[in-house]
């Protein structure tokens, strides 16, 4: 199961807050986060890596899709 968080159009720290809330409250192993700025992509990636997750980033036009998988 995976959850998708649409953080497009939101600026720091909202995308990270949304991701952290999802990590805390949802059991899903995989979380997909959509963002539309490099800063948000980097911030969410950094937060996910701090939470011991693996992050895969794909860029589509001006947007990013971050596939975040929990390790362990």
């Amino acid at each position: 199961m995976s959850t998708t968080i649409d953080a497009r159009g939101l600026s720091c720290p909202q995308p990270v807050l949304m991701f952290m809330d999802a990590v805390k409250s949802l059991p899903d192993k995989e979380i997909i986060v959509l963002v539309d700025t490099d800063a948000s992509m980097e911030n969410v990636s950094r937060a996910a890596e701090n939470k011991n997750c693996t992050v895969t980033v794909t860029r589509q036009a001006d947007e990013y899709s971050l596939t975040i998988v929990r390790n362990g």
Binding site: G9, L10, C12, P13, D36, T37, S45, A47, T56, D62
Partner: protein, 361 residues
């Protein structure tokens, strides 16, 4: 995963250190004491240079600010990081900018200058920084409870260029109406004959330093408010490591350049009203936290196409005009006659925004 070098820990430390080197050098080359770079003070000087307020000692179109925006634009275009966007409660951001500036001018400095004042030995900055952190902490409480100004929308590429173009226009004005020695006016621009506004590094050097910092800070997302916010909210020290690097390098530079003078009294462009240093910066910190960036960061965002950040910047410039026209700004002699009232109104407005603007997404 992060390919952007300046997005790494080493990168942000390098950028903080670079600002810590350049700011004291700018002071050595003519900028005011412990004000190598102060975004709030410099935007206040721009307001004066344009005649939006007529405080004669603080009138100068600071090229550093112009450089910040243009440097950020260059980095954003070069690294395909430019996104023209707007529409996240712009007027709320304007109001936050107004009161952020008023709070900063009660303290006499933005977070950047608070750090530079600290590294110059001005202990009053400790009170300011404590206030800043307190204000940011209040902001994080709102963030935890769903505070959110809403999403931006994509807009025309050219809409995001308006702010950089305005800055280019300011630069052009400086060439069309250059400063004339001992003259308070040149064409439509006002210049200070004495006071902090008369103290400035040569234009080309100030602009160059601004461009370098703007470029690097856009890549690294350097933000003094974010540094403390992320520490409080996420226990993250990424941005904070850049801020610490700034203070350490600026301290070293000030010692080398003979600009270090420790104490509370007789500090340049500062007062020692501890409570008001704290409360002024607390208001600024809260407004920055609610707006999502320190005044420097807002300039870098404005450079990379964020129209809402541009609105915040103009809120700050208008805030400076209000602050000096209505006697809200402090001076080394103490508080302005209406400074206390303005801070009280500022807190009321920020709390109103914080309590009522929650996410609906």
């Amino acid at each position: 995963m992060i390919k952007n070098f300046f997005g790494t820990r080493t990168g942000i430390i390098a950028v903080g250190a670079m600002i810590g080197i350049l700011a004291p050098l700018l002071q050595k080359l003519g900028n005011p004491g412990n004000m190598g770079i102060c975004v709030a003070c410099f935007e206040r000087d721009i307001a004066g240079g344009l005649g939006l307020h007529r405080a004669e000692v603080v009138q100068y179109l600071r090229p550093e600010i112009i450089g910040f925006v243009l440097g950020s634009l260059a980095a954003a275009l070069l690294f395909k990081d430019y996104r023209a966007r707007t529409g996240s409660a712009p007027f709320a951001r304007f109001i936050l900018g107004v009161f952020a500036m008023i709070g900063a001018l009660v303290f006499l400095g933005c977070p950047w200058r608070a750090l530079l004042r600290l590294s110059g030995g001005d202990w009053n900055a400790v009170l300011g920084l404590a206030g800043l952190i307190c204000g940011i902490w209040i902001g994080t409480l709102f963030l935890k409870n769903g505070y959110n100004l809403g999403r931006t929308q994509k807009t025309h590429f050219s809409a995001g260029l308006l702010m950089p173009l305005i800055m280019l226009g300011f630069l052009a004005l400086m060439f069309i109406y250059p400063q004339v020695a001992q003259e308070p006016k040149s064409g439509i621009l006002f210049y200070s004959v004495k006071g902090p506004g008369a103290s400035h590094a040569p234009l080309a050097i100030a602009l160059g330093a601004g461009l370098i910092i703007g470029f690097l800070a856009q890549r690294s997302r350097f933000c003094t408010m974010g540094a403390f916010r992320d520490l409080i909210l996420f226990k993250q020290v990424h941005l904070l490591s850049g801020v610490i690097a700034l203070v350490v390098m600026a301290l070293v530079m000030n010692l080398i350049l003979g600009q270090f003078s420790m104490g509370f009294e007789k500090q340049p462009v500062a007062h020692s009203l501890h409570i008001w240093n704290f409360i002024g910066m607390a208001l600024a910190g809260l407004a920055f936290a609610l707006a999502g960036g320190c005044p420097g960061r807002q300039l870098f965002l404005a450079g990379e196409g964020d129209g809402d950040a541009a609105v915040f910047v103009f809120g700050m410039i208008m805030g400076a005009a209000f602050a000096h026209n209505f006697g809200l700004a402090s001076s080394p002699a103490g508080l302005g006659p209406h400074g206390m009232a303005a801070v009280a109104v500022g807190f009321a407005v920020c709390l109103f925004i914080g309590f009522t603007m929650r996410k609906t997404t």
